[in-house]
Subunit: 338 residues, 2 copies
């Protein structure tokens, strides 16, 4: 198995006496430490207008992380294409990829939070169409050495060659978040890699991996188990009280995101909105417990086909260190069974 | 006097055997060395679709430089506002400012190259209006701790608070390129700092500084000579042949940029298009010659009021090292006479 980290940093607006940058700097230091501990990647979110200071300029924070690391894969989970001018985005991704010696894993999505669509004044109904058009432009930008034009519904470019080039050819690996069968088929269709969310219970993870594998193979390609990354929240909780507290914190965080994401009409159909927010669901979707319990859960996850896990540590770097020392070796050493 | 560096990096699209990233990595290393040599800032250009690989994702390259340095001011010269979503731009600038501990010097402009307007399918006639609207949004984004909305001609945002906050309050210093009297008055009016281009002959530099000083003082503010940065190309050319070669290279580079910038109707009225591209003009606008000749030219520049000079070294880091060792001490030690 392989392990990466998944997460965000916080930098809240505050008074002049608050060091808003502390969360960002700690995030960078934790990434440096994670690389040394054997984590292979860091996948970072992009969010806007949360009011609690989540990372917005993901590619800039990742660039800083990149400059401080040497092997860590630099993942986005995910960049929401509808917010970005696709040519500027192609240039930004290429610049990091080039400087980092080809370490970008570019995760993309169409957005699911109502508060972001509302803030950018972009109708949520345009998300699909905008995603498809942006992706088309990104691919042209990365792969065309001769001038091209684009006359789309949302973007127009005339006779351009986009520089710099990416280091990875033809472009950095693309990852897409998906949950519904139709979305998973789309990822297989496009030939990209699959990001599975941190909330789905293990059985659902298994079903999604099995579907993706079948869809990839049905298209005549070999299935690589490392082309699926599953995010899991982790917390080493030794006592029942610690576990209870960790689960409650997690449920509160989910409510907060749910409130930002939900549409005024309550009709947000994103997969991420479909999970129950109960103690049982939180427990089923996360790696919370003693080291032995985490090992058991991880083995179950592996048994359903997950070979690449991104850990979202709610216990900070200490949990990641403990996992790396006490648990990772037993799993990292085994060869993939596929 | 204070000295910074000004410049670009190159990363050309090429075949699979070309290391396109070499120019970018060398640029970063030169910035690290420049900081150690006593240069206080690095101002970096933004350009698109040049065909010769100029920096496009300026803020990403600068982020990498920022992560490798500790005191160097991180300047843009300039970010062209009409290309960017102003909220995304505000987030990017704030992220670097926060991570770097408040080292961003944010230089902005409205664009002058026809090939960029054409490539982005933005009419050049909208440049002024787009610049003003973007600036308004940027300032709101940086300074508002409570939700705000914007209903503009080009951009709309609804009920947003932009995060993270900048480290510098109320926001990073703003710099604007200007040449014409009306533009210089606008910079004074806005209370920003002034970037003077690398082509204007010394007498014109003097006139512009004098006008800016008068306009600042007419508005009841103290004039700070360090609020004007003058860019100069530098080359230590010991022999007449070396100097001739350096001047010819410079003229060829100017022709290349002229061709990208000129409109099909030949009516590009930007200041930068008005300078003659002759040997004499190149000589008058640049610091080319023996160390003694450079000292004399620099003294002339200082005599007309320039106290902050950004060096664009066509001789690479060796010239910057030589300047720092042999010339900078004599000027850096003197107090400002204003």
């Amino acid at each position: 198995m392989r392990f990466g980290i998944f997460g965000s940093a916080q930098a809240k607006r505050g008074g002049p006496d608050v060091d808003s940058g502390a969360g960002f700097r700690e995030f960078v230091e934790n990434n440096v430490k994670a690389e040394a501990l054997g984590y292979v990647s860091s996948f970072v979110v992009e969010h806007h207008f949360t009011g609690f200071g989540q990372i917005s300029a993901t590619l800039n924070l990742l660039t800083w992380v990149a400059a401080r690391t040497t092997t860590l894969r630099l993942g986005t989970a995910v960049i929401t294409l509808p917010w970005h001018n696709p040519v500027l985005l192609a240039e930004q991704v290429a610049t990091i990829d080039l400087l980092s010696g080809g370490r970008v894993d570019f995760g993309i999505g169409q957005g699911y939070r109502h508060n972001e669509f509302a803030g950018f004044c972009i109708p949520m109904e345009e998300a699909d169409e905008r995603f498809d058009e942006s992706l088309e432009v990104l691919l042209k930008a990365w792969t065309s050495d001769t001038p091209w034009s684009h006359r789309g519904k949302y973007w127009q470019f005339d006779n351009v060659v986009v520089e710099p080039p990416t280091a990875q050819k033809p472009h950095p690996p693309l990852w897409m978040g998906a949950g519904r069968p139709a979305s998973i088929k789309k990822v297989a269709d496009l030939g990209y890699r699959l990001l599975l969310d941190q909330f789905a219970p293990i059985e659902q993870i298994g079903e999604r991996i099995a579907l993706f594998k079948a869809e990839v193979q049905a298209r005549g390609r070999r299935f690589d188990p490392m082309s699926v990354a599953v995010t899991r929240s982790i917390n080493v909780a030794m006592t029942a009280a610690e576990r209870q507290k960790a689960l409650e914190t997690r449920m509160a965080a989910r409510r907060r995101v749910h409130d930002l994401a939900q549409r005024p009409d309550g009709q947000n159909k994103s997969t991420i909105m479909t999970y129950a927010n109960t103690l049982e669901a939180a427990e089923a979707g996360a790696l919370y417990g003693t080291p032995d319990e985490i090992v058991t859960k991880l083995q179950t996850l592996r048994d359903v086909g997950a070979e690449y896990v991104l850990l979202n540590s709610t216990g900070g770097i200490e949990t990641l260190r403990r996992f790396a020392k006490e648990i990772m070796p037993a799993f990292a050493g085994e060869p993939s069974r596929r």
